[in-house]
Structures are given as structure tokens and as C-alpha cells.
């Protein structure tokens, strides 16, 4: 056994390696593309966080509007279109939407992110020390305003069942449309308290009016529309560029046409060629030789997307006036909108006329589905989805929905 003492040589080797391991393993360079959450708890990071909220808003805005248009009677899907290949779009068009529809699953996920990013910005802003009040107000405005928009989208575009609109927040219970709209309105009102610009305040007021309009609270809608966007105000836009593209361009536009426009939109132009100033269409041939129309309102991948305009506010005022709320002159308000596109004036207007004007003026902005639902003019058979379904991902992972 004496010669086996050489065995002891192994002991210092093991010991040295053991101590070396920890030091060696932990000495790695940090990531450069990602930052840990706690590092963002700093006033200097607020602009970065605010931009993130807006960035996610732009991801959501044109996508959810395009899917809503597809579900409405403004756009449709046909396999005769040689560029079309997504079965998920066909399901949405027909209102026969499986809960795991992939296009919708992706949409619901980014909408959830928008809500979370906005709410998290408010939480973070209120939990850190901020020396500059303007910075704090800007962050709170961004959080409340875009958090309000996220809730509004859930209220008007999503549903638990075919005719049961509403949404979910933070894996909580289903929130019916009316209550979700109340939350949106509360957010918008909080945003106004942090608003630094009158123009921003008017935009927010228009959103509040729109939320009340969907709720059927016409009195409050009229109140806020009256102090909403006015002629000459710049559109409130979702911004895109060459890297982050508007959804319509790649799926229902010049980039690739999977979703085409209902022929009745072209009928407006046939009836009055000036309507082409605001209903912008182009054509493509189906494999059968049939002609289809697609939108060119957003001709480029970087085209910006109007989310709220003074024209929409005018049309809300006109509708509310015809419903007996507010003091606006409905015909003048509508004609002011038409004139902004060099379309000739109407001589008479009624509620249906305002809805038609909305169909044309707000085409390809996601408003047609809202109007169909709030006015009871659903175009598909009973039993079809009138809202995008809250997805299987949510239902499976949210104990409050089981």
C-alpha cells in the first residue's frame, strides 16, 4: 500500500479545480440586447419605456383594425385570390373562428402586452423618484392614454362568446364590454390630468366620446365630443416605418393582398367618383378571372394609420345630434367632413346616412365592426362570431375563465 500514496496526488488536483470553477464560470460578459427589469427603475429610462408603449400600440392598432375589417362586411377573404393562403383569415371572414385561430392568438397576445406595458409604466413611474415633474406627467399620460386604448380595443373587438363582448385583464375574470369601457374611460380621464398639450387633451376627449358612444351613453358622448378634436387638428396616428410596417400593407394591400375589399365599397365610387378621394382602391384578378378590389389607403409599408381624426369626431357629433344630444348641426358636420376630401355636400342627413358616411370616411380603420355591432346591423348568420374570440391560450391559462 505504501506505493499507493501517489494516489494522494489526485487530491490537490480536485481541490484546485473546485475553487477555480466558481470564478471561471461566473466571469462572463453581459448581454447587450436585453436589460434586466430593475435597471429600468430610473427617470432617465422613462423615454425608452414610453416609446416602447407607443411601439406596441402601433403593432396593435393596424393589425386589430384590419382583422376587425375582415370580420365586418367591409373586407373579405376568397381563395380565388391567387395571393391568399391563410385559412385563419377565412375563418375570421366567415365568423366561424376556432379558439386557437393563429392570426387571432397573435393579436390577443400583443394587445395584452400593450395593456401591460402601459399599466407597468404607470406603476414604475409612481414607484421611482423623479426630479422633473414634466417627465413624470409625460410618462403618466402615456401610460393612462394607451392603457385606455388597450381596454377600448378589448371592449369593442373581443368577446367571450359570439355575441358577448368584453375582455380580460391580468388573468382576471371576464370583464363585459360596458365595464371594460368604464375602465377605458377612467384611464382616459386620468390621462387628461397629466396632459401637457391641449391638442392631446382633445384627442383623449374624442376617445372618451367614442367609448361612451359604444356604451350607448349618448349624453356623456356628446359632452366629450364637444370638447374633442376640431377641424384642423392633426390626425392621431399610429406610426410605422420601413422596419415596423403597417399590417394592411403586408396582408391587405400592395405588399400582399390576402384580404380584399367588399365590392360595395367600390359601389360608393361608382355612385360618386369623388369618393375615390377617401375610399382608395386598386384591383387584382382572381384565378377565375374575376376582378377584386384591395385598399390603397395605405400604399406603403411605412404609411401611418389614423386612429382618431377630427372627421371622426365630427361624425360622432352629427350622430349624437340626430339622436338628440349635443348642439351640433348634423348636416353641416357631415358636409364639413366630405369637403375635406373634396366630396360634394349632402342636402339631407339621418342616422342611417351618418352610418353610411362613417362607412366611407372611416373605411379600413376598424370602425365598421364597431358600428355593425352597436347598431345591430350584423351581416352574417346568427351564431357566428361578432367579435374576435378570447383565445384558447387565455382560456387555458386563466383559471377565472374555466
Amino acid at each position: 500500500m505504501k506505493k499507493n500514496r501517489k494516489y494522494l496526488l489526485l487530491i490537490p488536483i480536485v481541490a484546485v479545480l473546485s475553487f477555480a470553477c466558481n470564478d471561471y464560470i461566473q466571469n462572463v460578459d453581459p448581454l447587450i440586447t436585453q436589460a434586466q427589469d430593475e435597471l429600468l427603475n430610473n427617470e432617465t429610462q422613462l423615454p425608452f419605456l414610453m416609446t416602447g408603449v407607443k411601439q406596441r400600440f402601433s403593432t396593435v392598432a393596424s393589425q386589430i383594425s384590419c382583422l376587425a375589417d375582415l370580420l365586418s362586411d367591409q373586407m373579405f377573404y376568397t381563395s380565388d385570390n391567387p395571393q391568399a393562403s391563410f385559412p385563419t383569415f377565412e375563418e375570421i371572414d366567415k365568423g366561424q373562428i376556432l379558439l386557437d385561430n393563429n392570426s387571432n392568438r397573435g393579436m390577443w397576445r400583443v394587445l395584452g402586452e400593450l395593456r401591460f406595458f402601459a399599466d407597468d409604466l404607470i406603476r414604475r413611474t409612481n414607484s421611482i423618484s423623479i426630479s422633473n415633474a414634466a417627465n413624470k406627467n409625460a410618462a403618466l399620460f402615456t401610460g393612462y392614454f394607451y392603457g385606455g386604448i388597450a381596454r377600448f380595443y378589448m371592449a369593442v373587438y373581443y368577446g367571450l362568446a359570439q355575441t358577448q363582448p368584453g375582455g380580460v385583464i391580468d388573468a382576471g375574470p371576464f370583464i363585459p364590454q360596458s365595464q371594460m369601457l368604464d375602465q377605458a374611460i377612467a384611464n382616459f380621464k386620468s390621462a387628461i390630468t397629466s396632459s401637457a398639450k391641449d391638442a392631446d387633451t382633445r384627442i383623449v376627449n374624442s376617445f372618451i366620446a367614442k367609448a361612451y358612444l359604444v356604451k350607448g351613453d349618448f349624453a356623456n358622448a356628446a359632452t366629450y365630443a364637444a370638447i374633442g378634436m376640431a377641424k384642423g387638428d392633426a390626425d392621431f396616428l399610429a406610426l410605422y416605418n420601413d422596419v415596423s410596417n403597417i399590417y394592411y400593407w403586408g396582408f391587405a394591400g400592395k405588399g400582399r393582398v390576402q384580404i380584399v375589399v367588399d365590392n360595395r365599397m367600390n359601389d360608393y365610387i361608382t355612385a360618386d367618383p369623388k369618393e375615390a378621394n377617401r375610399i382608395k382602391l386598386s384591383t387584382l384578378k382572381g384565378t377565375s378571372g374575376k376582378t377584386y378590389y384591395f385598399q390603397t389607403k395605405y400604399p406603403d409599408k411605412f404609411s401611418n394609420f389614423p386612429v382618431m381624426t377630427w372627421q371622426e369626431n365630427n361624425l360622432m357629433l352629427a350622430e349624437l345630434a340626430l339622436r338628440g344630444f349635443g348642439s351640433g348641426n348634423a348636416l353641416a358636420l357631415v358636409n364639413e367632413v366630405r369637403a375635406s376630401h373634396s366630396v360634394g355636400p349632402l342636402v339631407i342627413i339621418d342616422l342611417n346616412g351618418v352610418l353610411t358616411e362613417r362607412d366611407k370616411e372611416l373605411c379600413f380603420q376598424g370602425d365598421r365592426l364597431i358600428d355593425e355591432n352597436r347598431t345591430g346591423k350584423w351581416h352574417l348568420a346568427a351564431g357566428t362570431w361578432q367579435y374576435l374570440p378570447i383565445t384558447s391560450d387565455e382560456r387555458n391559462a386563466n383559471p377565472n375563465l374555466k
Partner: protein
């Protein structure tokens, strides 16, 4: 660094210095014990030194031994030769010349061959305690030709499945080892070349529909001497974390010891000419547009030149090679041009030290075609719709290019040092450094739908550096004078540094300038960086009692930078034992080897680098600039998955010409990392959240039967059968929802095997009140539709040598209980390109699925039995439910057939052997024929490539080609 290089230089000079001392000679002859024929190239080694030589053309060997080693002590002289049992003779080193002759007996099944059984252990296969898979690469390369590592390994190792994803040249491929290990990671084994852990990535940054490029396609298979496979934790535990899916050890060729430095050179040249061709022709009975699809295929030529120089003397041996392989695929825009240069040098500067240096440089250029899930693909434009080229014109398709340029250096230095008797130290450093550039080009002026008209160019750069550091020390001693003990301790460290960057430019103003500077718009850009480290220390102790009982115990402690801030320690134990029953003297003589073995080991799979970080944000750019968006949701307490494996086996050899290996294994993974998908309404969906909540089990057996009924000077016949069975089951996901692949068909679900097809099917037709078909009835829930991974696999091999110099080699693979999702057929039905589908629609009075495709048939009357019978069949083709298109895909493929002739005897007659040592030529065919139940073009499919969650997905994927090779080899 410079100082180190100088030291190394002088170390290599030491042999020359030693030669100046007073030497003595060891010499002799090595012959076949049965025939007395000399054995050419047999190795004779003097132990415990590293000195030795190889035999020459007459079987003679001779080498010098420094006089300083002669102290009158006893030493061992061992003679070994491939397929022969080694012999050892005792010699006394007293400074006088020694002559020893050896007569070696055949070892048909290589039971005496040394195999690796662990990170620092190797032993003869006849006493190995674990199952070790082997591919005798250098032998196979003499009778066949292989384009890459995947072709060399496929079907050759019991318990190892290897599946390519498509017929693209350079395409990725995936191992499935035994039952697939645990739930985590990519299920891929860790691969080492000469001790260097190499990059096994599939690169697929810019999508061309699904397929990626395998970094393993850079390896020249002609350089490989052997491949050894440790198939699971029972054998690979000492490799630590990430050994759970096994470890592949590739050894490249080394120089051969030939007596005398001046004679020590052998030059080998191999030329290979061949072509790839389409196997499966699309039929108009399946696709209206079949002819358009078939027209896209081409016969792709291939040419390969391979030179190698091997040689050396007592103190220095070397192997150097050069390869250029130029291969064109069966689809336009798909080719490979690989140039490889390798130099391996082994030096024995003193009797106590040996050094091996390996270096390999590869320049590889690949072009990858569009296919799979993309509207710019050849197949997407031809077999989806009855009218082809709806998205992109036929000629325009061919203007696209996706070029991959790779420069890779893989090198290693290993030192063996024996400072005192029975004690040795090994150290090694390995480097794998690769620069990769992908350049994707949509040319200016070509219409790729509306998306790209004014051209688009995208560049992705990737630099990957991997460093492997190994160190171990072994000490051998005798315990109680009857138990031989070998104790080992060591460490192993790994560091990977990855940098990537990418940029995309569009809207070029001219087709003359395509540099990024001429782009009107930069539409995409990014950068990434990763630094990760792993390390472990281990100790292992082997006990050998009377060469009958063998026992090994080991333990490894692992660390990794991806396991939280404090790098907690993970411990992996192993234990294995074997008994040579044939040495008890109680068995019949015919049973010349019977070994029972049992082994247990643990390993694991690391979390990803970001898994332990609770919340990570990144920057997303857009119309507002760059803003913070969520990137990852982690779990600070995450630990590696733990995989335990138990195996028991028997190895037997009967009458020296039948060999049987059988292994049963059982794997259990616990603490599997399961990504819990939070409800999207939480907003935390950038990733799933990892938790150690899963568990799986896997079991199966693997067997290898070899039979050599004929072995004469004129004829030889070797037959072998590999038969494997595997099964696995996800036992728990800890309450998490099932995990589906992006196509929503493959699932990770409790109670089912991993990756099982689990989706909806049609159960029958639905009628209105008049009896008219109005749709199909869906199953009320998802249905288990089988596995994309076969339960049973295997292969047959025949190697027949006849008329002395002819050799016929055939190799076939089969798989049973195997399913593929035929998404190609689903979409062609949906778009009206499936004649059967169209016929049913017409018979049911339904509108045509596409213009001008309705056959001229009279609709049947609703409510009649004929109508209902068609409705039943049509419902089963409802494309809404993907389960309707999941098909049986069992197959038998005649994988390799070759016929070669060795002209050496003829050359001898003409006395050309003065100039030429050997000359052989042959023809070989890969994928000669396939027999399968599957209705699609191929079964070796996965549209999403080799690293995706999707498995067994056929969606416009390119079939694997038939490859015909004509080759000759000449030795100088």
C-alpha cells in the same frame, strides 16, 4: 503567447536531440496466425513509453529506443491490428537490440478494439461496462463514398435515429438518441472532434421557408477515422450537463508509424464523380399541376477530390489532407462547394510525453433554395394550386439566391505526460472558431409579389468561438495484490462566445450596384452577443478483479453560467459493472465471449442563459424610434433538468463468427423545465416562464447481431442487423397546459409520447334536412394520431467480398410506427389541386374548389347510398382538421449500395507496384429505392428544419435525392 509557441517548437525538436543519443533497436515481424501472411500496417508499441512503429509491406517493424530508457527493467511490447486480437510480449530493456515476432488471430467483431467509455476512460470493448456505439468510418470510406457526417452515421449505430429535414444540400439533421432524453434542450448529443466540442447549430436566420444549414456539413467525412457514441447518462455522466442525449466522439485520422522516417509516407488520392437525381415524380393523379413541379427538378452533378498524406517515424507521425467537394442539388439555387485542409501531428518527444496537434480549416459555400412554407418557393408555386406560378413567375423564381459562406477552424492540442510509473496526466485545449455570412438577394427588377420589386439584400454575420479545456490525471495501482485499480480526477471547461449582426436593404436604384450602400432604405438591422460558460470536475475509479469482474464508480460536479448568479453546484453520479461469464470455465467452448453488464448514470440539460433572469426587456424599433418591450420572462430559481438512466446488457460471441449485443435501457427525467404560458391578458407572453415541474420516462432496447459465415482468401461475407425499439411518455407537466408546435399538431402532453400528433379529425359527414352534405363533423376533442418519431427502427447490412478483389456492400434502413403530416396534400386539396378532392366535390354537387378544375361528372342525388358513401370519403379530406392528413409513413429505404474492385493484384502482375501501392474503383448509389405507405414524395421530412418543435411536417419540402457516385482511389 509567443513564449508558449517557442516552447512548443523546442518540444517538437526534442526527438531530434534524442536521436543523437546511443539507441538500441526493437524489431520483428507481425503475421496472421492462421495464414502466416504478413500484416501490413500493424502497430507495435512499447509500454509504458509512447514509442513504437508500424509494419511495412513485408510485415516487418523496427524502431529505435533511446539508451537512456534501458535500465534492465521489464516492459511490454504490444502488437495490434484492425480486426485482429492484440498480443503482448514481455521484454527486458537492457540496451541490447530486441527481436520479437507476433502471430495475431482474427477479431472479426473488434471485441479487442479499444473504445471510449467515459471522459477519461477507455477499454477493450470485450470488458466495457456500457454500450458504446461505433462507426468504423475509415473502413466504410474505402468501400463507399459519403458526402457528409450525417450520411456516415445514419442507421449505423444501434439506438440512434438520424433524420434529415429535406433534400437540400447542406440541410440540417436531427439525432433522436434512445428515448430522446428528457423534455428539455434540443435533444441533440454533444459532439466532440478530437476533444473539441464543436458547434452543432442549424443556421436559419433568414427564412427560405423552413430549412436551415447545418454547421456539421463543414466536416469532411474522409478525415474521420472512427465515431464513438456514448448514448446516454449511463455512459456519458462524466461529461456532465448536456450529456443527457449522449456524447458523440469523432476521432480524425492520425499518422501511421512506419519504420524509419524516410519511408514513412503514404499518399492517397480519391476522385469521386457523380450526380443527384429526383427519386419521386409527382403524379397528375395526385396533383393537377404535377408536371410543372417535376419540371423544376434537375440532375445535379458532384465532383470531389481528396488527397491525403500519412506517415511518420518513431517520434513524429503526421496526417495531412485536402478535400474539395463541389455538389449541385436537385433543385435550382442549391449547391455546395467545400474545401477542407487538415493537418494532424503526433509527436513523442520523450518516452514520457506525447503531443497531438489537430487542425482543420474549412471554407464552405452553400446556396439554399426557397421551399417549404414560403410563397417564393419552387414547390409552393407549382404543387399548391392547379395553376402554377401564382405568386412568382417561373423564371423569376430562379433569380433568387441565398448564399452561405463559412470559414471554420477547428483545432486542438493534447498532451499526455507520464512523470512517474503508473501515473499520467492529460491536458487538452480545443478551439472551434467559425465565421459565417449569409447573403440573401432578391434581385432588382424581379417581381416577388408586391413585397419586393426594387430588390432586397440582407446580410447576416455570425462569429462563433468555442473553447474546450480538459485536464485529467490517472493513477493505476494494485489493491490487495489482486484488484487492479485505475483512479482518475480531472476537470472540463467550456466557453462559447457568439456575436451576430444583420442588416437588410431595399429599394435599390439600379441593378448594377447591390452593395448595402446603394439601398434606398434599410429595413432591418440587429445585433446579438452571448457569452456562456460551463465547467465541471470529476473523479472516477475503475476496479478490475481477475479480468472477470469490472466495476467503475464516478461522480461529477458541474457549474454553469446559466444557472443563476451564484452558479450552484449540480452533482452527477455514475456506477457500472461487468462480468465476463465466459471466463468462469462453465460455458461451452463455442461461446467464446459472454459478458453481462449493468450501468447507471445521471446527467442533465441546462436552462438557457436567460432562463434565470425574472424579467428582461429589449428594444423594438419602429415609427417612434426604439422603445422598451418585453423580451423574456424567467425564473430565478431554475435548475437544470435531471436525467437518470439505467441500462443492462449482454454481449456475446459464438464460434468467433456470430456476435450479439443487446441493451435494455430505462430513462427518467425529473425537474424538467416546462415553459408555463401565462395568460396573454397578463401581458407577459414574450416567452413562457420556465419551471422545474416536468417529468418523463423513456425505455427501449437496442440490438446488434453480426454474422460472418464465410471468410476465406477469395470470399468473405458479413451480415448485420440492427433492431431498436424506443418508447417514451411525458409523465407530468406540473399542471402546465400542453405545449404545441407552431402548426398546432405536435404536442408535449401528459400521458403521451413527446411530439405526438394530437389534433382534431373529421369523424363523418354532416347533412341538411334534404340529405345534402353541409360539412364534416369534427371529433369532440383532439385525438392521439401517432408519433412522428418511429418506435421501431433498424438496418440490414451486407458486405460480400468475392473473387478476392470484388466487394459488394448494401445497407438498408427501416422504420415502423411512424407518421407524417401531409400538409402539402392538405393545401393542394384546399386550393383545388387534388383531383380526388375535386371529384368528390363535383359528385356532391359542391362548387369547384378552383376555377376549371371540376371534373365533368353528374352530381349524385343527396340521400342516396352512393351520395353518402362519397360524403363519407370527402369528409375525411376536410382541410379544416389537420388530423385528416396525418398518414402512416413506415418505410424501408435501400440506403447504400456499392460495388468496388481492388486492382492491386493486377498492378502487381505488371510490376506497377513500384510506383503504386494500391488502386481501387467503384460505383455507389445512395437512396437507391424507398418503399413506404406514405402518399407524399418522401419520408425524410421536416418542413420547419431540424431544431423546431414541429416534427414530421411535410409542407412543400424538397425530397432527398438519389445520389450516384463513381470513384477511384490510388495510393502512392
Amino acid at each position: 503567447m509567443r513564449k508558449n509557441l517557442l516552447s512548443l517548437f523546442f518540444l517538437l525538436l526534442i526527438p531530434g536531440l534524442l536521436l543523437g543519443q546511443s539507441n538500441f533497436k526493437i524489431k520483428g515481424k507481425v503475421t496472421d496466425a492462421k495464414t502466416g501472411e504478413p500484416l501490413i500496417g500493424a502497430n507495435v508499441l512499447l509500454k509504458p513509453s509512447n514509442l513504437g512503429a508500424s509494419t511495412d509491406l513485408d510485415g516487418n517493424y523496427s524502431f529505435d529506443v533511446p539508451g537512456s530508457l534501458a535500465k534492465g527493467q521489464e516492459a511490454e511490447l504490444t502488437a495490434s491490428f484492425v480486426n485482429y486480437r492484440k498480443k503482448t510480449a514481455a521484454v527486458v530493456l537492457d540496451g541490447k537490440d530486441i527481436t520479437r515476432n507476433f502471430a495475431l488471430s482474427e477479431d472479426i467483431f473488434q471485441n479487442e478494439e479499444i473504445v471510449v467509455t467515459g471522459i477519461a476512460s477507455k477499454t477493450a470493448k470485450s470488458v466495457a461496462e456500457v454500450s458504446v456505439g461505433r462507426v468504423a468510418a475509415s473502413e466504410l470510406s474505402t468501400i463507399n463514398t459519403y458526402g457528409g457526417l450525417s450520411q456516415l452515421v445514419s442507421g449505423k449505430v444501434a439506438g440512434v435515429q438520424l433524420t434529415t429535414s429535406s433534400g437540400n444540400i447542406g440541410s440540417g439533421w436531427r439525432f433522436f438518441v434512445r428515448g430522446g432524453g428528457g423534455l428539455n434542450g434540443d435533444e441533440q448529443p454533444t459532439i466532440y472532434i478530437d476533444g473539441t466540442r464543436i458547434d452543432n447549430a442549424e443556421l436559419n436566420f433568414y427564412g427560405t421557408g423552413g430549412q436551415g444549414i447545418s454547421m456539421l456539413s463543414n466536416l469532411n467525412p474522409n478525415d474521420i477515422d472512427k465515431i464513438e457514441f456514448l448514448k446516454g447518462p449511463a455512459a456519458a455522466a462524466m461529461y456532465g450537463t448536456n450529456g443527457s442525449n449522449g456524447v458523440v466522439l469523432i476521432t480524425t485520422k492520425s499518422g501511421k508509424l512506419i519504420s524509419g522516417l524516410s519511408q514513412g509516407l503514404s499518399i492517397d488520392y480519391k476522385f469521386n464523380y457523380g450526380f443527384n437525381q429526383q427519386i419521386y415524380k409527382y403524379k397528375t393523379s395526385d396533383f393537377i399541376s404535377a408536371d410543372d413541379a417535376n419540371r423544376q427538378f434537375q440532375t445535379g452533378p458532384l465532383r470531389e477530390h481528396f488527397f491525403s498524406a500519412t506517415g511518420g517515424g518513431t517520434f513524429l507521425k503526421y496526417y495531412a489532407s485536402f478535400e474539395n467537394r463541389n455538389e449541385v442539388g436537385i433543385m435550382p439555387s442549391n449547391s455546395e462547394n467545400r474545401t477542407s485542409l487538415r493537418v494532424n501531428v503526433t509527436s513523442v518527444p520523450t518516452s514520457k510525453v506525447s503531443i497531438r496537434l489537430n487542425s482543420n480549416y474549412v471554407n464552405n459555400t452553400l446556396y439554399r433554395p426557397n421551399n417549404d412554407n414560403i410563397i417564393f418557393g419552387f414547390l409552393g408555386n407549382t404543387i399548391l394550386r392547379p395553376k402554377s406560378f401564382g405568386w412568382v413567375g417561373e423564371q423569376d423564381l430562379r433569380t433568387f439566391s441565398d448564399k452561405h459562406q463559412i470559414n471554420q477552424f477547428v483545432g486542438s492540442a493534447n498532451v499526455n505526460y507520464r512523470p512517474i510509473e503508473n501515473f499520467e496526466v492529460n491536458g487538452g485545449i480545443g478551439i472551434d472558431n467559425s465565421d459565417y455570412t449569409e447573403t440573401r438577394l432578391f434581385p432588382f427588377g424581379v417581381n416577388f409579389g408586391g413585397l419586393i420589386k426594387q430588390g432586397q439584400r440582407a446580410i447576416y454575420n455570425r462569429n462563433n468561438r468555442q473553447f474546450t479545456y480538459d485536464f485529467n490525471a490517472n493513477y493505476s495501482f494494485t489493491l490487495f495484490d489482486i484488484i487492479n485499480v485505475r483512479s482518475t480526477a480531472g476537470g472540463q471547461f467550456f466557453n462559447r462566445i457568439l456575436r451576430t449582426s444583420n442588416v437588410t436593404g431595399e429599394q435599390f436604384s439600379s441593378d448594377l450596384i447591390t452593395s448595402m450602400g446603394a439601398a434606398g432604405v434599410i429595413s432591418g438591422y440587429g445585433e446579438n452577443f452571448l457569452d456562456e460558460k460551463q465547467g465541471g470536475i470529476f473523479t472516477e475509479h475503475s476496479f478490475n478483479y481477475l479480468e472477470q469482474y469490472f466495476l467503475t464508480l464516478g461522480i461529477r460536479r458541474d457549474y454553469a453560467s446559466s444557472i443563476g448568479k451564484e452558479a450552484p453546484v449540480i452533482t452527477y453520479p455514475k456506477a457500472s459493472a461487468a462480468v465476463r461469464v465466459d471466463k468462469f470455465g462453465i460455458l461451452p467452448e463455442e461461446l467464446n465471449l459472454l459478458k453481462l453488464r449493468v450501468a447507471y448514470g445521471e446527467s442533465g440539460v441546462l436552462p438557457t442563459t436567460t432562463d434565470p433572469i425574472p424579467l428582461l426587456w429589449t428594444a423594438a424599433t419602429g415609427g417612434y424610434g426604439a422603445g422598451a418591450v418585453l423580451a423574456n420572462i424567467g425564473n430565478a430559481s431554475i435548475q437544470p433538468e435531471s436525467v437518470k438512466e439505467f441500462e443492462v446488457g449482454v454481449d456475446a460471441e459464438v464460434m468467433h463468427n456470430i456476435s450479439v449485443e443487446f441493451t435494455y435501457y430505462w430513462q427518467n427525467a425529473v425537474n424538467s423545465i416546462v415553459g408555463m404560458n401565462l395568460a396573454p391578458s397578463t401581458g407577459k407572453t414574450a416567452s413562457s416562464v420556465p419551471f422545474n415541474i416536468g417529468s418523463t420516462k423513456a425505455w427501449g432496447f437496442e440490438s446488434l447481431i453480426q454474422y460472418s459465415p464465410i471468410r476465406t482468401a477469395e470470399y468473405g461475407l458479413d451480415l448485420s442487423l440492427v433492431w431498436n425499439y424506443q418508447n417514451n411518455q411525458v409523465q407530468s407537466l406540473g399542471g402546465a397546459q400542453p405545449i404545441y408546435d407552431p402548426f398546432n399538431n405536435n404536442v408535449i402532453k401528459e400521458g403521451l409520447p413527446k411530439h405526438e400528433f394530437y389534433t382534431l379529425i373529421s369523424t363523418g359527414p354532416k347533412y341538411d334536412a334534404t340529405g345534402k352534405y353541409i360539412g364534416s363533423i369534427a371529433s369532440t376533442d383532439r385525438v392521439d394520431l401517432g408519433s412522428p418519431i418511429p418506435n421501431t427502427t433498424g438496418s440490414f447490412t451486407l458486405n460480400f467480398r468475392f473473387l478476392k478483389n470484388f466487394n459488394l456492400y448494401a445497407f438498408a434502413e427501416f422504420a415502423l410506427s411512424f407518421k407524417i403530416f401531409n400538409d402539402t396534400k392538405l393545401f393542394s386539396s384546399r386550393f383545388g389541386n387534388n383531383p380526388t378532392y375535386n371529384l368528390y366535390r363535383a359528385q356532391l354537387g359542391l362548387p369547384a374548389a378552383a376555377p376549371d378544375v371540376a371534373p365533368n361528372v353528374t352530381p349524385l342525388t343527396p340521400g342516396t347510398p352512393e351520395y353518402n358513401a362519397v360524403a363519407e370519403k370527402y369528409a375525411k379530406l376536410d382541410y379544416v382538421y389537420s388530423g385528416n392528413y396525418i398518414e402512416d409513413a413506415d418505410y424501408l429505404t435501400i440506403r447504400e449500395v456499392s460495388l468496388s474492385y481492388d486492382f492491386t493484384d493486377i498492378l502487381n502482375e505488371f510490376e506497377l507496384m513500384t510506383y503504386i501501392k494500391y488502386f481501387s474503383a467503384g460505383i455507389s448509389v445512395r437512396n437507391l429505392a424507398r418503399f413506404t405507405k406514405y402518399s407524399g414524395a418522401d419520408v425524410e421530412y421536416n418542413s420547419n428544419g431540424s431544431r423546431s418543435l414541429s416534427r414530421g411536417l411535410d409542407f412543400l419540402t424538397l425530397q432527398t435525392p438519389r445520389t450516384v457516385n463513381f470513384w477511384f482511389r490510388i495510393g502512392l
